[in-house]
């Protein structure tokens, strides 16, 4: 098989049931995290303990799927040991690759486990090939996940200039900021993706019904106010409505989902190694639906790239589970910027 035909589908596994439906519905890889802040979805009730991780790896491997482990937050001086132990544990569990963001941790992994496959997390903020090649030269990374800020033409430029496989986000919640370089959440709440593995943490969220509407607050800061007929989504800081020069609007980003189904043939043609689905915090039902649609789409695009067309039924299914019930091509499509 030529490398260009080997596009992998990488699906989120927030827990064992999600992992199983992802594998059963055609994920080539699943990615997961441990039950602590070593990963960027450190939410209560989510992620894997030792027993479920072991069962997850067994289940996936028995069906020919790979398991990737996200250790993509930044260890601090006093908590370094936890991240180091997590790398050790990944090796012990037989994880197929670890997804890392911190350069220090990457060095630890490369030095101690030369056979462990390393992926550069999107939280590593590598938006150009010089950055990606840095990690390749120093630690031998084999894949990099690109932040959701490049246009497709810029992605192609990266692919042409690096030996590292490139993984792109294809679907799910959309970070409008460069991942790994956003401290908005810690500015408001004290906890950020980099330091705590959370953005706009649930414990800082307050909903309040007021005479002027339903209000969402993050650590007391008003993020939005909803009228009677409006759907209220999870109050992610950058997706609130704010006032700039007396105009109230989604000043940073609308509550939308990224959906790049229509770009699949281009992505395959330029040699993208993998498409990542966001959403470890979402339900197994979401994972099942999204995996199913993307499996069909990827198979169809690989089989007949020339005649590939987005099936309206796929869009309908994805729209049912999309955040904000809206889709965007994000930065891959220039006018978004």
């Amino acid at each position: 098989m030529s490398p260009k035909a080997s596009l992998e589908l990488v699906c989120p596994a927030g827990n064992l049931p999600a992992l199983k439906v992802a594998v059963d519905n055609g994920a080539d890889c699943v990615y997961m995290g441990f039950k602590d802040n070593t990963n960027a979805r450190a939410f209560a009730g989510l992620n894997f303990d030792q027993a479920s991780a072991r069962e997850g790896v067994r289940y996936a491997h028995a069906r020919g799927a790979k398991v990737l482990l996200a250790l993509n937050t930044f260890p601090q001086s006093d908590t370094w040991e936890r991240w180091q132990a997590a790398v050790d544990n990944a090796v012990e569990l037989g994880i197929d690759a670890v997804i890392l963001a911190d350069p220090g941790l990457m060095r630890y992994a490369a030095k101690n486990y030369p056979n462990l496959r390393l992926h550069l997390s999107v939280q590593g903020s590598a938006t150009n090939y010089e950055a990606i090649n840095f990690y390749h030269e120093h630690f031998g990374i084999q894949r990099a996940v690109i932040p959701r800020v490049l246009s497709l033409a810029q992605v192609e430029q990266v692919v042409k200039n690096t030996p590292v496989e490139i993984e792109l986000f294809g679907f799910g919640g959309l970070c409008v900021m460069v991942e790994g370089r956003c401290a908005l959440s810690s500015y408001a709440t004290g906890e950020s993706p980099n330091t705590c593995g959370v953005c706009s943490p649930a414990k800082a969220v307050r909903w309040e019904q007021t005479p002027t509407g339903l209000e969402s607050r993050l650590n007391g800061i008003l993020l939005d106010r909803y009228g009677k007929d409006e759907n209220a989504g999870y109050p992610t800081l950058c997706k609130g409505r704010f006032e700039v020069n007396k105009e109230t609007y989604y000043a940073i980003e609308e509550p939308t989902s990224l959906n790049t189904l229509e770009m699949l043939p281009e992505m395959i043609a330029m040699g993208i190694a993998a498409i990542k689905i966001e959403g470890r915090q979402r339900s197994p039902a979401y994972v099942e639906q999204v995996t199913k649609v993307w499996r069909s789409a990827i198979d169809s695009a690989k089989r007949a790239p020339q005649s590939y067309a987005v099936n309206p039924a796929w869009m309908a299914q994805l729209n049912k589970v999309a955040e904000g019930q809206q889709n965007t091509l994000g930065a891959y499509h220039r006018p978004w910027k």
Binding site: D78, S125, A126, V178, A183, L184, A188, G190, E247
Partner: protein, 306 residues
């Protein structure tokens, strides 16, 4: 401790920028970081202009460092980065790992800027081996975390703290200033030039929250650690960074200098600064709190009350 002026984060008229640095040349600052770090579309000063400013400041006795852009996306961004990295004269502040890659190959010392995620001693040691001789603490890092970093600091590594200015909190491919004006980024008409200290974003109940600065999002509040200079000295901080604002930057520098030299009490300086800042102060990050919080003034007024 040395006093540094960070790169201008806003987009100012060419002449404004030149006269700003004329004033800085005469100010009590030791180190000046120069260059466009936010958006490659901004072009009133080209790399050669920055180098000209650098030469003038060097002649005035300042240490000059050229800062690289934080978000490097295109081949032309990389071209500019290569010119800066290979300038052969001035030290460079790396603001992404692509810059670290190029600078480590030059075997010349460089500064690991505030946009490099240096959160632990292992990463700091790696940067030292690659040639960094100074690092700027990430803005969200607390004093307590810094103490741990300092305890394990590699020999010869200087520590710099972002101590004054609207906090650079996030970068995006999207231009929020252009978005505010319903303009596409490619035809932004350089509207960010109208907002010399950023464009304030408020909550729907009028609380100033963030400041839009093109593709960068800043805090609306002004991070101000003038009350923490003693603590910084105790922690072994070598360099204190002031981030430029459109007005009163030289005055801010002077106040920091006077407090650092024990010629002015921090509280007095703090009171004087209230009139010089584009918005209210914050210092939460330093205290391990949400960045937006402010504790120094509250503590000061509590003392006044007692």
């Amino acid at each position: 401790m040395k006093l540094a002026l960070g790169p201008i984060l806003y987009y100012w008229e060419r002449e404004t920028t030149f006269s700003f640095y004329d004033e800085i040349a005469a100010s009590p600052v030791d180190i000046v970081y120069l260059g466009e770090t936010v958006c490659s579309r901004r072009h009133t000063l080209r790399t050669e202009d920055w180098i000209e400013v650098a030469e003038k400041l060097t002649a005035a006795g300042k240490e000059v460092v050229l800062s690289s852009q934080a978000l490097i996306e295109s081949e032309s961004d990389l071209k500019t980065l290569r010119r800066i990295a290979g300038n052969g004269n001035f030290s460079v502040e790396a603001n992404d790992m692509g810059a670290v890659h190029l600078l480590s190959a030059t075997k010349l010392p460089f500064v690991a800027g505030p946009h490099i995620n240096t959160y632990n001693p292992q990463t700091l040691a790696l940067l030292a081996e690659l040639g960094a001789n100074r690092w700027v603490m990430p803005v969200e890092m607390s004093r307590d975390a810094l103490v741990h970093m300092q305890a394990a600091r590699p020999v010869g590594m200087e520590t710099e703290v972002f101590a004054y200015g609207r906090l650079p909190l996030a970068f995006s491919a999207r231009c929020f200033t252009a978005r505010h004006h319903n303009l596409p980024k490619d035809d932004c008409q350089f509207r960010c030039m109208d907002y010399v200290n950023g464009l304030t974003l408020k909550t729907r109940e009028g609380q100033p929250f963030l400041a839009l600065n093109g593709t960068q999002t800043q805090s609306a509040s002004v991070y101000n650690l003038i009350g923490e200079l003693d603590a910084m000295r105790e922690t072994g901080v070598d360099v204190v960074r002031i981030s430029p604002q459109a007005f009163f930057t030289a005055k801010i520098l002077r106040l920091f200098r006077e407090v650092m030299d024990n010629r002015l009490p921090a509280q007095t300086a703090n009171q004087q600064m209230a009139k010089l800042m584009p918005d209210q102060a914050c210092d939460g990050y330093w205290h391990g709190r949400p960045g937006i919080e402010q504790s120094y003034l509250q503590a000061a007024s509590a003392e006044d009350a007692a």
